[in-house]
């Protein structure tokens, strides 16, 4: 599987340098009747996210008296991948929905919303690697656009190791053929990690190096998030 060269003359298959992010696009309020929504593209990878809520939670026995709850659904469109994905949740999307919830949860003052739910939905329209982190960036913007009180934004990116080189923002081919890939999210102002998943085989040193470069990329992504939010509120 891992035969094709992913690094040639210090450049990646799409011409990027190891530490280079793909072209990133962010757009707010793309779903009319959501409380907040956003579309984020990392290269071809496209996530659209919306937030419905805070809203009442039924049936009642799901309500929690002391706090609100956050629910997250990550979903891939059937046509977003090369081999059509049958609709509906699978084990992968169940796990990803959970880790995304935990990645975003710490920023939200859920205790301000007893018995209430905040529902975040992220749809992957096209998948070219790094879908879960793209979804997190979109959901973070959607939450902010919905006016949900948050301690911090969440910025997210992938890092990994391909052909022996540590890189950021893996595309689909790199993801499938990497020696290791890591999904990462942080609260940029608080400077803490809210998502950390890794697959592969790395020395401790490599893990720590990747974390450092993930942090730096997330700070760049955070700047973009801030810009798009400022432009949006200016535009209003």
């Amino acid at each position: 599987m891992k035969e094709e060269k992913l690094m040639v003359d210090g450049k990646r298959i799409d011409g990027r340098l190891p530490e280079q992010l793909r072209d990133i696009k962010m757009k707010l309020n793309v779903v009319t009747r959501a409380n907040g929504s956003a579309e984020v593209k990392f290269g071809k990878t496209t996530a659209i996210a919306s937030v419905h809520g805070p809203r009442a939670l039924f049936p009642r026995y799901l309500q929690e008296s002391g706090t609100g709850i956050l629910r997250i659904r990550y979903n891939m469109a059937p046509f977003s991948v090369n081999d059509r994905k049958s609709p509906g949740p699978d084990r992968r999307s169940t796990e990803i929905s959970k880790v995304i919830r935990l990645a975003l949860g710490p920023t939200i003052f859920l205790e301000d919303f007893p018995k209430i739910t905040i529902d975040g939905f992220a749809e992957i329209i096209e998948a070219d690697g790094s879908t879960r982190v793209t979804a997190i960036n979109a959901l973070s913007l959607a939450l902010a656009a919905a006016g949900i009180p948050m301690e911090d934004l969440v910025a997210s990116c992938s890092v990994g190791k391909i052909d022996g080189t540590l890189v950021v923002d893996l595309n689909g081919k790199e993801d499938n053929n990497s020696e290791a890939d890591m999904a990462f999210a942080m609260l940029p102002n608080k400077g803490v990690i809210s998502l950390l998943q890794m697959d592969g085989a790395l020395t401790k040193k490599e893990v720590l190096k990747l974390l450092q470069s993930a942090k730096e990329s997330c700070m760049k992504i955070y700047e973009m998030q801030i810009k798009v939010l400022k432009d949006f509120y200016k535009g209003e």
Binding site: V31, T32, A77, F79, D128
Partner: protein, 252 residues
Amino acid sequence: MEELYALELIHKGKRIDGRKFDEFRAIEISTNIISTAEGSAKVKFGETEVIAGVKIGTGKPFPDTPDRGILIVNTEFTPMASPEFEAGPPSENAVELSRIVDRGIRESDAIELDKLCLVEGENVFSTFVDIHIINHHGNLQDAASLASIAALRNARLPKLENDKIVRGEYDKPLPVAFTPINITVSKVGDNFILDPNYDEEKILDSKLSISVRDDDKICALQKQGVNEIKFEDIERMLDTAIEKSKELRKLV
């Protein structure tokens, strides 16, 4: 109570967004927008936004049509697109929408399914049209139908090697013979309107979904809405759909 205001306006001959009764919102169609799909299209009617993606694979034909390709239409009312959509298996409304899109395409013989046979009884192309609702602001049926036929017209057959698909390489366009257009004609009181937005949809008495082929033949009908339709209204509804279909077909 936006919808009550919409109703009041209609009784006065006006619409909430200033359109004429038989006027669609601004229509945008973009095709080939998803590189993982064999064909794709995004359709916007104002804020309403629908994406259709075509995935083509190979598989065994149905036993009763051993020499024809397979066409399957599926719709997801993603909970992202509207607060009233719920996660889970397709709702009754999503199933109905898919089936109306499917019938419009199938009954008009739009796709030349006989050209999609590889080995009779053994291997044929299977064509999945997946409709993904992005933003629900009314008239999903017509938008989904338009996105579907636009995506099919945009679709290319994948290249085969030993009857297996080589992903990312293409052979020739999917053979599409017709461009059926679905026009839903709605009635509010004594007025016929087209392309209702989300608020207007709440005040409709009844609607008739009408699929029209390039030769003006009617290929599918479906009465919708909770109230009955009068016999004398049908002809006018059909005339409206036939006329309007020409306008939309030009956009594909």
